[in-house]
Amino acid sequence: MAVNVIDETLFESVDPVVLKGSACTECDAHVFPAMSSCPMCNGTAVQEIALPTQGDVWSWTTQHFEPKAPFRTDEFHPFSIGYVDLGPVIVEGWLVGRTNWTIGEPVRLVLAPAWTEDGELVHTFGFESAGGA
């Protein structure tokens, strides 16, 4: 059965989960989600690329209050958000599995259930601890 995701354009592949960004062939800037031009050098020679799936927590916070619409959830619980350093680019996403994190700790990309729609789970991308500590 196909996995429902929040926005298919974010993903190079859903199983296994890989994010799709774009890279500028002029200045090598990487961005996420993919764009049709480069915001760093204004070049238009960009190509879509699969982003690395492992990285380190670059910064984090936990969202303790329920965001206003258009936020969607079945039942609100505090959840963590972070920026994850994937090497060529730092990507913002959910940090899943706990609500307390350390800058520099290793994480890996996962699919995380976001809300239920028509009886089926819709997933977003997130990062979970890659252990090692």
Partner: protein, 387 residues
Amino acid sequence: MSRRDDDIYVVGAARTVFGRFDGEDSELAEQAIRGALADSGLTWSDVQFAVGGTNGETKPDNLVSRMGLTGLPFVTVKNGCATGGVALMTARNGLLAEGDDIACVVGYDNHARGAFNASPARYGIGDWYGETGMMVTTSYFALKIQRYLHEHGIDPRALGYAAEKAFAYASDHPFAWRRKPVSVDEAMDADMINDPLTRFMFCSPDAGATSLVLARGPRAFDLCDRPVRLASVALRGRRPGSFEVFSTWLSPGERTSPSIDASAAAFENAGIVPADVQVAQLQDTESGAEIIHLAETGLVAHGAQAEGYLNGDFAIDGRLPVNTDGGLLANGEPVGASGLRQVYEVVRQLQGRADGQQVPGAPSIGFTHVYGAPGISACTVLMAEGE
């Protein structure tokens, strides 16, 4: 002292009390304009050029229907948290370009309760960003200061010091909104909003208005006993490497900031260095923003902020009093009025007639800084000039 025809001075200033307001926001604007005109001894018919800013739905240029249909050009600006600085710059430019003598600037807003709710589409981001709960301004501020504290080895208690200072100043300021003192421990132990920021470390949207009357050239000294010279005003946007709200990605390279660029330009154009500043206003949307902006503007070295608070450097009798009216933390943020509130406070300090605590020693050089989405900053240098 030489007085040049193209020098611009603040000759009148007024603000309303900030906080919750039940009426129309244009009532607040009118109140501020009338106050600033009274302060300058001028009338609306003397004003040749007007600029107004708000983040709300009303049209600032329609304030002429309250103030008088004199036919004057009235420019509207809408630049988020930097609206006040942009309005002031626009008024200065108008006076210089048109050869006019008198301008009026006003900023006002009356916001609903709670954090601002932004639409992903307005920022060119997919719906998924808002639906997954990442389109939240408070989490942006938290993520930014969390990283900043880590990079510069700053004790997180600095966030509590900043909150304590803000409410201490505000407790003596008749126009501030939140005037109850808060201790460092209370600030640190309060409900967590977004780690590491608690309830006492965020400003809230509220209502208020501020207005300034500007005059060009020596005439300012006929209008005002103690005119304050707008020595510079600089506006800058973001460059690659800045860390802005609603960023789905960041570049791993050098970190830049529009605040760094705007403050450097303001100091250079005024012919001073940051160490010359004797009273300052910084954008403190939350405690962390004050900590970051102290360094981005060059007033304090990166990493030295916590020590500065502990030394009392930013208190009224310290080396560099900062946000002497309680800043955004205690005044809230009526977006259109906030940047002009900063200028108002510094003008009053330089004139020796602060509404709250007065910086001792007759300070003569002040600085203001606003910063906002989507990565813009406006800074001013203000100078008191004697006879």
